[in-house]
Symmetry: D3
Amino acid sequence: MEERKASGSLTIMTEIVLPNDTNVFGNLMGGRLMYWMDIAAALAAQKHCNAPVVTASVDNISFENPIKLGNAVHIEAKVTRAFNTSMEIHLKVWGEDLTQQFKYKSNEAYYTFVALDPHRKPKVVPQLFPETEEEKKLFDGALRRRQLRLILGGKLKPKDATELKALFVKD
Amino acid sequence: MEERKASGSLTIMTEIVLPNDTNVFGNLMGGRLMYWMDIAAALAAQKHCNAPVVTASVDNISFENPIKLGNAVHIEAKVTRAFNTSMEIHLKVWGEDLTQQFKYKSNEAYYTFVALDPHRKPKVVPQLFPETEEEKKLFDGALRRRQLRLILGGKLKPKDATELKALFVKD
Amino acid sequence: MEERKASGSLTIMTEIVLPNDTNVFGNLMGGRLMYWMDIAAALAAQKHCNAPVVTASVDNISFENPIKLGNAVHIEAKVTRAFNTSMEIHLKVWGEDLTQQFKYKSNEAYYTFVALDPHRKPKVVPQLFPETEEEKKLFDGALRRRQLRLILGGKLKPKDATELKALFVKD
Amino acid sequence: MEERKASGSLTIMTEIVLPNDTNVFGNLMGGRLMYWMDIAAALAAQKHCNAPVVTASVDNISFENPIKLGNAVHIEAKVTRAFNTSMEIHLKVWGEDLTQQFKYKSNEAYYTFVALDPHRKPKVVPQLFPETEEEKKLFDGALRRRQLRLILGGKLKPKDATELKALFVKD
Amino acid sequence: MEERKASGSLTIMTEIVLPNDTNVFGNLMGGRLMYWMDIAAALAAQKHCNAPVVTASVDNISFENPIKLGNAVHIEAKVTRAFNTSMEIHLKVWGEDLTQQFKYKSNEAYYTFVALDPHRKPKVVPQLFPETEEEKKLFDGALRRRQLRLILGGKLKPKDATELKALFVKD
Amino acid sequence: MEERKASGSLTIMTEIVLPNDTNVFGNLMGGRLMYWMDIAAALAAQKHCNAPVVTASVDNISFENPIKLGNAVHIEAKVTRAFNTSMEIHLKVWGEDLTQQFKYKSNEAYYTFVALDPHRKPKVVPQLFPETEEEKKLFDGALRRRQLRLILGGKLKPKDATELKALFVKD
């Protein structure tokens, strides 16, 4: 199975914040944004593996600036690394007030998807190779984030998470 | 400002999986579920603080079992601990096939919300006191999860995360 | 076929009123509420009979207090009595202004559902036994409400509705 | 305030049953239909009184034939009688399989709406005069249905419901 | 295959403009209106040919007056002419402010649909005969509009569009 | 007022076809697609003029290949030319079956938007200058398409449409 470029999975989504997407302050609700991010990430994963995918996990997300009613929502999703049957997708989200010509960051996030075969069993996916500096950095960090996911999911003991442990012990 | 019981914030939400909530396998999409969880968590937070709230962050979520088209989705949300102006909410999510009388876990998650005053500034919230064993355990773990959120958000250095560090260094 | 407790069918649904659910006064539209009530009642009926169900009828509903944009909507549904292939479900609906800590009744209602087998034919359902005082009162009233439904549906003559007739003739 | 013809309020609505409107049998959910009926009835009431309206009550509805995915839903709504600040609206609903050229009745129903002034207080509405035989019959029956609503809402004692009482006592 | 009257395909749709249908000015978005028009036109086409249909093309649409939040949207759709496997549908759209008793034109449009057989192949449809003056005028104009569609779709050279050419060359 | 590059308005939207977007054949409904196109085009127009915009007109659209349930929908929108207060936007739409690695054209279209000032009056927009060959070709064709729109809208006589006339008279 051939390796594939990270850039081949890039997915760009643009939405507009409509009234029903907002809370009482007229700002985009976090849940609505996570819904859009899930779809963008699923499309990026499917571009990479050419198979149906399902959401396996979502890493910590911090919402920095609220996105306002009528503003544009920009989402960029790209696969950072492929494991055996799963893929980690990096998302960048920002809002844009088109009248004020003002762009602002909303959040960055990592979603993990698993590819499925027609019998709904996990399916091996092509490996990914990163090309740019940013892609390489995201590729390298993917291992550490994966260990953290395994610990948080109760599938790995902290003391066995070699990469993560280093962070806490040294300096 | 008086303290409040954890149990006072309990919010129970039940939904049914409709066609538009599903992927090509007829299973609930992760993003749609996170949308419902966000609303359940917001209601629990508002019950605790009696003020409008906004989603500040979402911790790692692992999706365990897919919830099928036509099945019921059960979400229970309860505040675990109040900090100064923020609250951590614990969510339990499970699916139920009412015809087969079969219940299955989907995931557990932590959302954090910030209370706002009418000028949209963070507002101090009442402290929470846990009563049951489970509430006390969640209350205690909230500090550790908060440190992790701060590290992941780049606002705390791993070496200063005393509680977390212990996990990696000892045993 | 074993009898089942009324309490086993209890279904609790919580929703939040979003902009698209409201009329020009910013209040929840009656039709939107009846849609949510239909889903809550269907879930309660399915819990009782473990089979797919379809809405057979809805009794008179009076809307008492409007539920406002941003408020919570609480719906509790419980089966009151099972007939041969149908079940009557009692619903209580109230709104809650979480900021003002104010709860107010919206309405009470009765929906009737029919259970179906895989060939879409009506299917016999387990009988229900009421335990609490309220459940017993609802169980007893179910016969009278059923006569009224049959009269209103043109399937029973008023003079043959023994239970109802008593109400109009005596005192 | 001038009287108005019943025919002036006629509202015709046509919808198509889409996947998200259906239950597991591929039939239109009762709650979704009541949502559309509420909008059709509100439009008929607003045509009559030229003011915003809110749903006050819904009479018993029996669903006769399921409406299938992809079929057309036809709703006709017309005011039957105006009381002081409220109006009763009669609705006829049928489905249509356009490929099979087959029309089938779903249900008939009565919704009651109240007109509001800009301060959200009930507002006097023009009286209605019926012209056709059917309109006259509906106009006459409106009083009886109103008594029934008042009894069911606990605002009138059965023994004082003169019109209704006759039904049960004679023959 | 028998001919059919134009009037047999008349489809009347009424909608209300809800918050999520509007732009920042509180006016119905053009795209939302085209969505409703597509459904009304599809129903008219299906009434004529009694087969499933798909949208083949939409002619120029000019939006004249914005339709406001809370106003009614009226759509009338009627087949103007049947070609071999396709049908042209004429739509009239107007808004209505029910409180002000004010009706205003939004637009007129032509949609073209193709009928499909169960193998998803184009299917011959019954011919249409117009009865009223307006129906005859629309029937005659259909040929000219069809030539224009073919030119705009790159399937006909302007010089071969006999009917259209006359418009530009004479007077 | 400075001129702006065409490329500055480029808007990329990606959607996935969900069940409720489809007709009985499981293909994206034309009306749903036009809704998304309207939003993409509005965003492109707003990027160019930094003001709220409303849809003024939509040119002929021919739907070439149906987009299937679960497939991705790609929409690219870019302003082709600015007139006094209006802008023409060119849209390219294609579907993608991510599993089969197959992309297919759906349609190309032109939407026209008008910029509004805070009093909802048309507002002068910056002129556009095209850079690439394709942008220049679209810029030049915009005049001809505008004449056609004016003729079709009854605001220009065919004989006065100098550019268009040439097409029909010569060769």
